[in-house]
Symmetry: C2
Subunit: 239 residues, 2 copies
DNA sequence: ACCTGAACACCGTTCAAGT
DNA sequence: ACCTGAACACCGTTCAAGT
C-alpha cells in the first residue's frame, strides 16, 4: 500500500544495464554508506532471485545483503509480495523490443518466436513469477505486437489473425517450460531408459532415443514452430 | 528418509475412487478414532491442495485437520517435501489411460491432445508440482504412449516421429498453462482495453477483440492443434 | 523522511519421552 | 510400532520509538 512513485532505472531502451549493481552500500566492508533507495532494494532482490530463485528471497537475507535492518526494507517496498511485484514489473519493462527478421512473413514470424524464446531463457524464473501475478498477457505484449504485424503482412485479419497469434505464443511458452524442466532435472524418475524400452516405443529404437533425450532443442523448436506456421498460414517458412 | 512401503489406494485402474475420503478419523466430532495411516495423511493433504493449492498445505493445518499432533505426520510421511512428492506420485499414477478416438491418425492424434488437456484441467495445481519435481516426462507418459502409436499409424518413424510427438505435447502444455493463467486472473493489468487499443491492433478491431478475450478456448485449442498436426503430418484432421 | 530493535504469530523440523 | 509436547531456528510483519 506504500505509494512509492520513484520507478528507478527505466533505462534508455532496455538492453544495456549492468554497471549499477548495488555495490554502493556495502556495510560489511565498513566502506562508504549511502542512503538506502528503493532501487538498491530491487537490485539486491533481483540478484538473489536470479541466482537462487524467488524462494530464496527472504526479507532477512535481503536485509543482511544490504546491510540494513529488516524493517527498513518495508519502508521502501511495502512488503515481500509488493517487492516481488515491483521486481517482475521492472524486469518485464526491461525486456526490450522484439524485432522480426527475414523476408517472407512466415520466416519473420519464426524469427519472432525465436527471439521470444531467447528472452524467456534469459530469465529462468520470470515466467513462473509473471504467471503467478496474472501478468502473462502483459509480458508477451511486445512479442504479440510483433506477431500481429507479421500475421497482418501475411494477409490474415480479425479473429483468424488473433487465433494464429495466440497459437504461436502458446507454443513458445509450452516449449520453454518443458525445455527448462528437462534442464533442471536431467535424470528423470524412474529414468528414461526404463520409460522408453523397446516395447513402449513400439520397436522403434530411433524414436525411443529421440524421446529419451532431445539432442538439439534448438532444432526441435524450429521444427515445431515451422510446422505450426505452415499449418496456420498454409505457407512453408524457409531457414 | 523414512522407508514406508505401504502405497495405499492403488485402485483397480484409476477412474473410480472417491468413497474413502478420510472421513474415518474425525477427532473434532468426538466420534470413533482409528489409527492414523499414511493413506489418511495423503487424503487430507490432497484435499487441502486441491481446494487451496500446495502453498496452503502446512503441517500444522494438516495435523489439525486430522486431529493429530503435528509430529505424528512426520512419522508417516517423513517431511513436507516427501509428503508432496508422494501426493504427486499418487495423483499421476491415478490419472488413468488416454485412449484415442476417431478413424484417421490425424483425428485420433487430436483426440489424444484433447484428453490430455482435460486431464490437466482436472488437476489445476498438478502441472506446476510435477514440474518442480522433474516428473514431467513421467506424467506425460500415457499421452506420449498414445501419441507414439498414432504417429506410427500415420507412417512416421524414428527421430521424425519423436519430434512430432514432442511438438504436440509442448503445444498442449503451453496452452493449458496460459489458459489457466487467464482463468485465475481474468482482469489483467493494465487491462486488456488499454493493451489492445486501435493503434496497437493495427486498426483491426476484430483482432483486438480476439486478443483481449478468447471467447472459446475449446475452439482455439482445436484450431491450433489441428494446424500443428496438419503442418507436421501434411494431413488435415477432420472433426 | 528514513531507520531501528523488540515483539507477535506463524512456519518446518528434531528429539527425548511416552504407550 | 505409533503418538506426544517441548524446543529450536527460521519466517513475514507490525509498531512504537528514535534521528
Amino acid at each position: 500500500m506504500s505509494s512509492q512513485a520513484s520507478s528507478p532505472e527505466r533505462g534508455a531502451g532496455g538492453s544495456a544495464r549492468r554497471e549499477a549493481d548495488g555495490s554502493a552500500r556495502r556495510a560489511a566492508d565498513g566502506s562508504a554508506k549511502r542512503a538506502l533507495t528503493r532501487g538498491d532494494v530491487l537490485d539486491a532482490a533481483a540478484a538473489i532471485v536470479k541466482e537462487q530463485g524467488p524462494r530464496a528471497l527472504t526479507m532477512r537475507k535481503l536485509a543482511a545483503e544490504l546491510g540494513t535492518a529488516v524493517t527498513s526494507i518495508y519502508w521502501h517496498v511495502g512488503n515481500r509480495e509488493e517487492l516481488l511485484d515491483a521486481l517482475v514489473e521492472r524486469t518485464v519493462a526491461d525486456l526490450g523490443e522484439i524485432r522480426a527478421q527475414g523476408r517472407s512473413p512466415a520466416t519473420r514470424i519464426v524469427s519472432v518466436t525465436r527471439a521470444l524464446r531467447a528472452q524467456l531463457r534469459g530469465h529462468p524464473h520470470l515466467v513462473a513469477m509473471v504467471h503467478e501475478r496474472g501478468l502473462t498477457e502483459r509480458m508477451f505484449q511486445p512479442a504479440t505486437q510483433a506477431l500481429v504485424h507479421e500475421v497482418h503482412a501475411a494477409g490474415l485479419r480479425g479473429t483468424q489473425a488473433a487465433e494464429v497469434v495466440r497459437s504461436l505464443l502458446f507454443q513458445v511458452v509450452g516449449f520453454v517450460l518443458v525445455e527448462r524442466n528437462r534442464e533442471r532435472a536431467p535424470v528423470q524418475y524412474p529414468g528414461d531408459e526404463s520409460l522408453w524400452d523397446e516395447a513402449t516405443a513400439e520397436h522403434d529404437p530411433a524414436l525411443a532415443k529421440g524421446l529419451a533425450a532431445p539432442p538439439d532443442p534448438e532444432r526441435l523448436f524450429l521444427l515445431s514452430v515451422r510446422a505450426m506456421v505452415e499449418g496456420l498460414l498454409g505457407t512453408r517458412p524457409r531457414a
